[in-house]
Every structure is written in C-alpha cells, then in structure tokens.
Amino acid sequence: MRVSGAAPHRAARWAGGVAWFLVVVSFSAPGSRSADRPEPPEVPVEQRGLSIGVGIPAFQAPDQWNRPRDFASLSGPRGLVLLFVRSADW
C-alpha cells in the first residue's frame, strides 16, 4: 500500500492531517501494527530505463517558458543530466 506521494513535504502535511489519518486507518490491513508505508516489491533497478551506452530516442517537449526543446538544445559541452520526477505538483 502506498499511503501518499513519496515527497517529504506531503508526508509532513499528512503527519498532522486528520483526513489523511482516516484514510490510512481505513486502508490499513487488519492487524497491521505499523503505520509506516510498506516497501513495494523490489524492482531490478539496473533494468529500469535505457541501458548505459545506449543512444537516447529523439524527443521534443515544451519547457516552462513554452519553448520547444530537444536534446541538441538542452545539452552542454559535456552532455546533459536529465532528471525524471513524478510531478512538480505532488
């Protein structure tokens, strides 16, 4: 069971939130002693995403200034650090 998003600030919110507490209680397994979020099944992390050494696919997407961006326009002289996150509005 995932109680909420992983981002700590959300957890801070639900730490004091009665509504969240009720949600947690209602979804807790019978007899469960711990309110901690259980770990989801282990995923072979090395298999996640493109492999090292593989060329990335072409992509294009608008940035926050609504400019269309592709890899060529994003990369620096030594490359690009591309972070995938779940959401900016978590």
Partner: protein, 287 residues
C-alpha cells in the same frame, strides 16, 4: 523537492559542462507556475502524455490510487524518479535510479559519483596507526528518502599497504556504519585493488596502496511515519543525526605486518523536512 534540490546544485554541474533538464508528466502550465514560484532556471519539460517517460523506459506501471500526485484527480503514468547522464553524442553515460520509489539520489550524490575528486572533505585529517584518514559526505543537509554518500579517504605512506576485500587469510580494509534506527545503508564501494606478489609464501593477494576511498550510501528514512512525525515536531523541522562508523584494517610493509587496527569515525547529517507549496488549483492537471 528534487527539482528544487537540483536548482540548488545547478552551478556545480554547469561548471563541469553538464547542463540540466527535468521531465515530468505535468502540464506546461503546472511547470510554468512551479518554476516561477521556486525560481527554477533550468528547463522543465512537460510530458503530459508520458511519451518521453515511456521512450526512456521509466514509466512506473503502478497506477494505483496511492501512486497519484496532487489531490488524486490527476492522470496516471508517472515516471520512476531518477537521473540519466547523457553524453554529448546522445548516449547514456550513467543512470541513477532507486529500486524503491521513495528513495532518491540527491543531486550532490549524483555529482559525487560523476566527479568523486570534487566532493568536499573534512578539513581535519585523522592520524591512525600507519595511515591518515579524512572523512567526507556528498550532503550535509538531506531530506527524508534522500540517498547521500558518506566516505573515508585512506592515505598510506610509501611502502605500506592494506589488504583489500577478497584477501583470504588476512584482515581486509573494512568500513562498517552503525546506521541510526530506520536508516539504511548500501554495501560499501571500494576502489580497484592491486594484486601483490608475496614470493616467500607463494601468494598473490589484493591490496590497496597510496590511497583508497571507501564510500557507503546512506538512505534517510522516506516511508516511516514515526520518523516524519519526529521531524515535524522538531524545532525548524530538522534533526542532527550522527552516524558512527568503524574502519578496520591491517597495515603491512615489505618486512612486517602490524597488528590489526580499528578507528572510530563519525559523520553528521542534518535531516530537514522541506515543504514546497503546490501550484494553484487552476494550474494543476485535471483528470
């Protein structure tokens, strides 16, 4: 939080020729408002159909209600959180993902993996029997779920070696952390060792000479309600955590192997809750 952490570390990467960008399944409107509010200066790419997320193979298949952002009404198909480092030719050079979705490498942790020589070390050198030690860490402040690197640099005088892991019959260099409750550690990372010939006893054993860094990644609890509560109640929503460790080794030179030695080490990490406000309701993704 990750997006804000990356902004704070931006200059470290760009000074080394690496630019930054992030992809989320959010709308462009969400990212525009978020970036303005949080002063994010690197590109945030809107991938509302999760096409880029799929193309990079990082779509989280868990579309259950508990794996939704925002108020639960947002569409699904989010990404696993993690980093790709892509070289100038467009090939994946490194990637940093966690098996558990709530554990995340800090940007400084990623930077330290890419440029290990550039992580800040403590100024104090610790003298121990036959060697000198210096501790360091990728981050001094971290948030719940963060993965930070703690390390110790071992400097050996000329002619002295210590045994490396895999040296049977000898006491190899070993770092053990006494992680606080609910904290997790990953197995220590050792540098490549050298096989040393010991002709008198017809053996070849792996050793470290001159210098060696042993690094251990520490995961701050990211799923413990009790831990979150303790931070929430703490002044400034932060706690100073001490992480003791023990380094064991046996130093030898060409003539003699000295008695096994043990050194106590200590790292300090401030764990702090960070609350990033949500974007306004009109900029949020709708279901």
């Amino acid at each position: 939080v990750q997006l804000v952490e990356l902004q704070e570390a931006k200059d470290r990467f760009t000074r080394r020729g690496l630019e930054l960008a992030a992809v989320t399944y959010d709308s462009q409107a969400t990212l525009r408002e978020f970036a303005a509010a949080q002063h994010v200066e690197y590109p945030l790419l809107a991938d509302p159909d999760s096409k880029i997320i799929r193309a990079f193979g990082v779509l989280d298949p868990d579309n259950s209600d508990f794996n939704r952002a925002g108020d639960g009404s947002a569409p699904q198909d989010m990404a696993y959180p993690g980093y790709f480092v892509i070289d100038r030719s467009g090939k994946v050079q490194e990637k940093f993902f966690e098996a558990i979705y709530s554990d995340r490498h800090t940007p400084n942790n990623v930077f330290g993996r890419l440029f290990p020589e550039l992580i800040e070390k403590s100024r104090a050198r610790l003298r121990a029997a036959h060697l000198t030690l210096r501790t360091g860490q990728s981050d001094v402040v971290a948030a719940p779920g963060n993965r930070v690197t703690l390390f110790v640099d071992v400097a050996l005088p000329r002619g002295v070696h210590v045994y490396a892991p895999g040296a049977s019959g000898y006491l190899p260099l070993e770092l053990r952390l006494d992680a606080p409750e609910r904290f997790e550690t990953r197995p220590p990372l050792y540098p490549p060792s050298r096989l040393m010939d010991l002709p008198p006893i017809h053996e070849r054993v792996p050793v470290f000479e001159k210098k060696a860094r042993i690094a251990v990644d520490l995961i701050v609890p990211g799923r413990s309600r009790a831990f979150f509560s303790s931070l929430d109640e703490a002044p400034d929503h932060s706690r100073l955590v001490e992480i003791p460790g023990t380094l064991r080794y046996q130093a030898c030179d060409a003539k003699v192997c000295y008695r096994p030695a043990e050194v106590k080490l200590l790292w300090r990490l401030t764990v702090k809750l960070r609350d990033v406000p949500r974007v306004s309701p009109e900029s949020r993704r709708k279901g």
